[in-house]
C-alpha cells in the first residue's frame, strides 16, 4: 500500500492504495468519481480518458503512483462555475450520445484536441479521436460536435 496525494479537479485527496492500482479505480472506487468509465482495462477503448496536466491519458493503464503531483481533470471537473464547456454544449446540441457510456472519454479527448488545434479538419479529428471507441457508432455526430465547439470557441475568443 502507498499513500498518494492526488489533485483531482482542483482538490487534493490522499488515498492509501496499492502503488500499481490504476488511476481509474482510484477515481471510481475511492473518490466515487464514476463519470470516468471502465471499458477494456488495456487502453484500447478510451472510455477512461482523463486529463493529466491538460493532456489526455487512459486512466485504466496509469498506475496511481505516477499521478502524484500532477493536475488531474475528470469529466466531473470539466465545467467551471456551473457553466458547461463549449464541447459539452455541442454534445447536447448535436444529441451525440446513444447509450452514452463512452461519451465521457470522447468529451475528454475532444476537449484536449481543441486545446492544441483550434480548427481541426475531419482528418485531424479522425486521427486524434481514433483511440476512443463508440460501439453505438456516434462518430459522425462526434465529428460535427467537435466542429461546432471549435466554432464556438473561436467565436468567443475573437
Amino acid at each position: 500500500m502507498a499513500k498518494v496525494t492526488l489533485n483531482v479537479n482542483g482538490t487534493d485527496h490522499t488515498v492509501d492504495v496499492p502503488a500499481d492500482q490504476p488511476l481509474l479505480w482510484v477515481l471510481r472506487d475511492e473518490l466515487k468519481l464514476v463519470g470516468t468509465k471502465f471499458g477494456c482495462g488495456m487502453a484500447q477503448c478510451g472510455a477512461c480518458t482523463v486529463h493529466v496536466n491538460g493532456s489526455p491519458v487512459r486512466s485504466c493503464s496509469m498506475p496511481v503512483s505516477g499521478a502524484a503531483g500532477v493536475k488531474i481533470t475528470t469529466i466531473e471537473g470539466l465545467s467551471q462555475g456551473g457553466e458547461l464547456t463549449a464541447v459539452q454544449k455541442a454534445w447536447i446540441d448535436h444529441d451525440v450520445p446513444q447509450c452514452g457510456y463512452c461519451q465521457s472519454g470522447q468529451i475528454m479527448s475532444a476537449t484536449a484536441l481543441l486545446r492544441q488545434n483550434k480548427n481541426p479538419s475531419d482528418a485531424d479529428i479522425d486521427s486524434y479521436m481514433q483511440g476512443n471507441l463508440c460501439r453505438c457508432g456516434t462518430y459522425v455526430r462526434i465529428r460535427a460536435a467537435i466542429k461546432s465547439a471549435a466554432k464556438a470557441l473561436n467565436g468567443s475568443a475573437s
Binding site: 500500500m1 492504495v17 496499492p18 492500482q21 490504476p22 479505480w25 471510481r28 472506487d29 475511492e30 466515487k32 468519481l33 464514476v34 463519470g35 470516468t36 468509465k37 471502465f38 471499458g39 477494456c40 482495462g41 488495456m42 484500447q44 477503448c45 475528470t74 469529466i75 466531473e76 470539466l78 465545467s79 458547461l84 459539452q88 454534445w91 447536447i92 446540441d93 444529441d95 451525440v96 450520445p97 446513444q98 447509450c99 452514452g100 457510456y101 463512452c102 461519451q103 465521457s104 468529451i107 479529428i125 479522425d126 486521427s127 479521436m129 481514433q130 483511440g131 476512443n132 471507441l133 463508440c134 460501439r135 453505438c136 457508432g137 456516434t138 462518430y139 459522425v140 455526430r141 465529428r143
Partner: protein
C-alpha cells in the same frame, strides 16, 4: 401478430415479456389489484416532500371512478382503462414529471416515451423532466427493450395517456371558469379560454385535475400530425446533461454503503466445471474478502460453474482474479471449432439441398434445369460478439429476513422484470420479496436480453453471506462468455429466364442446433442442466428469420432447406437477429443474379418486388422476427424506399473516379430500409466507405434526432461487421479484447444521408432495421469496384482492410 418463433433460442424471461406485451392492455391497465410498490417508490424518489397534485391517482381509484376501458392499443388485446397517473405527474410548481417504462439502452426510448406523452399532453417541453419508471409489471405491463418494438407498442398508450391527462386539466379549468370544455384550448402547459381571455397553467390546475374522471380512450382525440410540435422534430436526449457532466447513471456506477465488488471466473470452454481452485490462497490476497466455488445451474442463461472473488474494491478483485489457478473438468465442455464447422458445412452443401425443408413453392429443380442462366454461390460468415461498451455488471443484495428473504438488484438490463424474477428464483426469494432498479444501459444490442450476470450477482451475494455485491465483468469475460451472433453458411442456386427475370431461388441454410439438446443432430449428450430436450432447431440468430421472408413470396419457384450442426457455444439475439445475416445473403445473391442477367440492380430488385406470388398451400412458416408485430414486407413500401434512395444517391449517375455504388434493401422489425453505399477500393484492397444514403419507411417518426442517430450507428456497425469475427477453437474464443476484436473506430465513419419517407403506417423502432441492409450495400459496392464477389464475412479473410 406473430409470437416469438418456437425454434429460436430465447430465454423464458424474454418469451414471458413478449407475452405480456401481447396482453399489454389487460395487464397494465386491467381492473385487478395493482402493486403500489413501484409507484410509491417513484413518488418518494422524485417528490422529495413536494406536494403532489396530479399524479396521485392509482388504478384502483381510476376504476372506482368508473374510468372507462380503453381500446386500440395498437397490439390488440382487450381494452382497459387508461391510467395516466403512472406516466404523468404535474406538480403545482408546474414541473411535469414523465415516467418512461422502457429500459434506456441507447435506443432513445427514455426521450421517445417522454416526447409521445408530452405531445398529446400539450406540455411545454421545458417544463418536462423524464424519469425512469419503477420496474413493476403490475403497473406497467411489459418493460423490455428489444425487437425495435418499444416505439410501436407504446405509441398509442403514451399518446392516449397524455391526451387523457390533458382532458382532465381542461375539465378542471372548465369547472373553475364555468365554461364548456369545448371552448378551451391548450398550448405549452397552459389552458386557455379565448372568449374571456383567461389562462391557467397546468401546475395551477393540477390538484383540481387529479379529481376529474379519467376519460375513455375512445373519447380522446389525438393531435393531427400537422399540429405536432414535438413529435417528428429533433429532441436532444433527456439524460444528455447528466452524461456530458459524468453523473452516475449506469449499472456500473452503482455505489452502496458497505458494498463489495465481485468478479467471477468461468471456464473458457462453456460447460466446464471447477475440479480444483486455489481459493484458500486467493482469500489471503490484499483487499480480498472471500473467494469460493459457485456450482451454478449449468444453464448459460443463469449461472455456469466458476470461482467468485469478493473484494473491497474493483482493483483488488481484478488483481486477485489474475492469480486464480483453476483446474477445469471439461469432460462435457464445448470442443466447438470454426475450422471443423467450415469443413463440414462445405461438404454438406456439396450433397445438395438440406434434409429439412423450411419452405417450398413451385418446382425449383425444373426451373433451374430449364433456366437461361444459372447462378450459384456458397456463402460463409463467422461468429461475432455484442461487446457493448459497458461490460456486464449487476449489483445484488440478498438479505436474510424473518418475514421472508429479500433480494434487491440494480443493473443495466434489457428485461428488468426477467432479471428480477430469474435472480430471485435462483436464490430462493419469493417474487414479491424482490425489487429491481433499472439503470441506464451502456449499450444493449440484444446482449442484455440475457440475464446471466444478474443471476450470478444474486448467487454471489447470497453465497458471500448476504452482503451487497457489485459484480463486474472484465472485457475478457464479456467477450469469452457472450451469447454470440451465430456464424453460418448458405448455399444458393438461382434461375433466370431468357429475359433476365428471376424464376427460381434455392437456399440451403447450414447453421447450428443446440449441441446440449437431446435429439440435436449429433447431440444427445447430457447437458450440464440435465437436458433441455430442444429438437433439431437452429440456434437464435442462426436460423432463417422467417421462412416466408423475401424473396420467398416473390419467386415462382422457391426452395429453402436447412442442415444443422450441433453447437455448444451459446448464441443469442444481436441487433436484428437472423436478419443481419439473411440480409447480406439474400441481397448479395440478388445482386449476383442481376449481374448475371446484365441488368440494372435497382430495376431488377423493383421487378422482383412486383412479382408477388400466391401463398403456397399449408403456409410458408411464421413471418419471423423480421415481421414481428405486423406481418411481412410490404412491396409498395419496399419499392418506394428503393426508388427514393436511387434518386437521392444519384444511382446510375457518374461518381468520382474510382467510386462505386452498391444497393441493398431489407425489411425487418416493421422497418423498410433501402441503402446505397459509395465505396472505393485501392490496389491493396483497402475499402473506403465514402457515403451511405439511407431511405427508410418506419411510419411516423417520433424523435427525428434519435431515429437518425440509430441509422447512423447502424451504418457504422454495418461497416464494422465487415472487419470483425470471434474465432472459436476447442470451445474457446480466441479474441479477448478490443486489440484483436477490432470494432469500427472514428476514421472509417462515412458521410451518412438519412431520409425517412413521410407515411402513416404504424410506427416502428429504428434500433435494428437499418443495420442489416448496410452490410450488403457495402459488399455489393465492393463487387462493383473489384468484380470480386464477397461471399465471406469478415472481408478481412479475403485480404481486404477497411480504411
Amino acid at each position: 401478430m406473430n409470437s416469438l418463433p418456437e425454434n429460436e433460442y430465447y430465454p423464458d424471461v424474454l418469451r414471458a415479456e413478449v407475452e405480456k406485451l401481447q396482453r399489454q392492455e389487460a395487464v397494465a391497465f386491467g381492473a385487478g389489484p395493482v402493486s403500489r410498490r413501484g409507484f410509491m417508490k417513484a413518488t418518494a424518489a422524485v417528490g422529495g416532500g413536494m406536494v403532489l397534485a396530479f399524479g396521485l391517482l392509482r388504478n384502483e381509484e381510476a376504476s372506482a371512478q368508473g374510468a372507462p376501458r380503453r381500446g386500440g392499443g395498437g397490439f390488440g388485446g382487450p381494452p382497459a382503462p387508461l391510467n395516466p397517473s403512472v406516466y404523468i405527474k404535474i406538480a403545482p410548481s408546474g414541473t411535469i414529471t414523465l415516467y418512461s417504462k422502457t429500459p434506456e439502452i441507447g435506443q432513445g426510448m427514455k426521450t421517445g416515451n417522454g416526447v409521445m406523452l408530452a405531445e398529446d399532453l400539450d406540455a411545454n417541453w421545458d417544463d418536462v423532466v423524464v424519469e425512469q419508471a419503477p420496474v413493476d409489471s403490475g403497473v406497467y405491463g411489459n418493460q423490455f427493450a428489444g425487437g425495435s418494438m418499444s416505439t410501436g407498442s407504446n405509441y398509442n398508450l403514451m399518446r392516449q395517456s397524455g391526451a387523457a391527462a390533458r382532458a382532465m386539466l381542461v375539465s378542471a379549468a372548465a369547472k373553475q371558469w364555468g365554461v364548456p370544455a369545448s371552448e378551451l384550448t391548450t398550448s405549452k402547459s397552459v389552458v386557455m379560454h379565448a372568449a374571456s381571455n383567461r389562462k391557467a397553467s397546468y401546475g395551477s390546475l393540477a390538484t383540481a385535475a387529479a379529481a376529474m374522471p379519467v376519460p375513455a380512450a375512445a373519447d380522446l382525440k389525438l393531435k393531427d400530425k400537422k399540429d405536432w410540435t414535438l413529435m417528428g422534430t429533433r429532441v436532444t436526449g433527456v439524460d444528455n446533461l447528466q452524461l456530458v457532466t459524468g453523473q452516475p447513471l449506469f449499472g456500473m456506477d452503482i455505489q452502496l454503503p458497505n458494498m463489495k465488488v465481485a468478479v467471477f471466473q468461468k471456464c473458457p470452454a462453456v460447460g466446464g466445471k471447477v475440479s480444483k481452485a486455489n481459493v484458500e490462497e486467493i482469500r489471503k490476497l490484499p483487499g480480498v474478502v472471500d473467494a469460493f466455488i459457485v456450482e451454478g445451474t449449468g444453464k448459460p442463461t443463469e449461472v455456469m460453474p466458476g470461482v467468485a472473488i469478493v473484494a473491497d474494491n474493483t482493483w483488488s478483485a481484478f488483481a486477485a482474479k489474475k492469480k486464480l489457478k483453476i483446474d477445469w473438468d471439461e469432460s462435457i465442455a464445448s470442443k466447438d471449432s470454426w475450422t471443423a464447422f467450415s469443413k463440414q458445412a462445405m461438404e454438406t452443401a456439396k450433397k445438395g439441398p438440406g434434409a429439412q425443408s423450411l419452405r417450398s413453392s413451385g418446382d425449383f429443380d425444373a426451373a433451374f434445369n430449364g433456366a437461361a442462366k444459372k447462378v450459384e454461390g456458397y456463402y460463409a460468415f463467422n461468429f461475432i460478439s455484442h461487446q457493448p461498451m459497458e461490460p456486464q455488471t449487476t449489483t445484488a443484495w440478498y438479505q436474510k429476513d424473518p418475514a421472508g428473504d429479500k433480494l434487491e438488484i440494480w443493473g443495466s438490463v434489457q428485461i428488468p422484470d426477467g432479471a428480477r424474477t430469474s435472480a430471485a428464483n435462483l436464490v430462493g426469494v419469493a417474487p414479491d420479496r424482490s425489487v429491481m432498479h433499472q439503470n441506464r444501459v451502456g449499450g444493449g444490442f440484444g446482449r442484455r436480453l440475457m440475464n446471466d450476470y444478474a443471476c450470478e450477482a444474486a448467487v454471489i451475494s447470497k453465497q458471500a453471506g448476504g452482503i451487497p455485491v457489485k459484480l463486474v465483468w472484465t472485457r475478457e469475460d464479456d467477450i469469452s462468455h457472450d451469447f454470440y451472433r451465430s456464424g453460418g453458411f448458405h448455399d444458393f442456386k438461382g434461375a433466370l429466364d431468357k429475359d433476365g427475370k428471376l424464376v427460381g431461388w434455392s437456399g440451403h441454410v447450414i447453421s447450428f442446433s443446440d449441441g446440449w439438446a437431446v435429439g440435436a443432430p449429433g447431440g444427445g449428450e447430457p447437458t450440464p442442466a440435465g437436458g433441455r430436450g430442444r429438437g433439431p432447431q437452429a440456434v437464435q440468430g442462426g436460423g432463417w428469420p422467417g421462412a416466408g421472408d423475401f424473396p420467398a413470396e416473390f419467386t415462382p419457384n422457391f426452395r429453402l432447406t436447412q442442415s444443422l450442426m450441433p453447437l455448444k457455444i451459446p448464441c443469442g439475439p444481436m441487433r436484428a437477429p437472423g436478419n443481419n445475416t439473411a440480409a447480406w445473403l439474400v441481397q448479395s445473391f440478388m445482386h449476383e443474379l442481376s449481374t448475371a442477367a446484365g441488368r440494372d440492380h435497382a430495376e431488377f430488385l423493383i421487378e422482383v418486388f412486383g412479382q408477388k406470388q400466391p401463398a403456397p398451400a399449408g403456409g410458408g412458416g411464421f413471418g419471423g422476427f423480421g415481421g414481428f408485430g405486423g406481418g411481412g414486407v410490404n412491396a409498395d413500401r419496399a419499392i418506394a424506399t428503393i426508388k427514393t434512395v436511387v434518386e437521392r444517391a444519384g444511382w446510375g449517375k457518374p461518381l468520382p473516379k474510382g467510386h462505386y455504388h452498391g444497393l441493398a434493401f431489407h425489411y425487418s422489425h416493421q422497418g423498410h430500409f433501402a441503402e446505397i453505399a459509395e465505396v472505393s477500393v485501392d490496389a491493396k484492397k483497402k475499402v473506403t466507405l465514402h457515403k451511405m444514403t439511407v431511405v427508410a419507411d418506419i411510419g411516423p417518426v417520433v424523435n427525428l434526432s434519435a431515429a437518425e442517430n440509430q441509422v447512423q450507428g447502424s451504418v457504422v456497425e454495418g461497416l464494422s461487421t465487415l472487419g470483425i469475427e470471434v474465432n472459436i477453437e476447442n470451445g474457446r474464443i480466441k479474441e479477448q479484447n478490443f486489440d484483436t476484436y477490432k470494432i469500427a473506430r472514428m476514421p472509417i465513419a462515412p458521410v451518412i444521408d438519412v431520409h425517412f419517407l413521410d407515411t402513416d403506417y404504424n410506427p416502428t423502432g429504428c434500433g435494428e432495421p437499418a443495420y442489416p441492409p448496410a452490410i450488403p450495400a457495402i459488399t455489393n459496392a465492393i463487387y462493383a469496384a473489384t468484380k470480386e464477389r464477397i461471399r465471406t464475412l469478415p472481408i478481412t479473410r479475403l485480404g481486404y482492410s477497411i480504411a
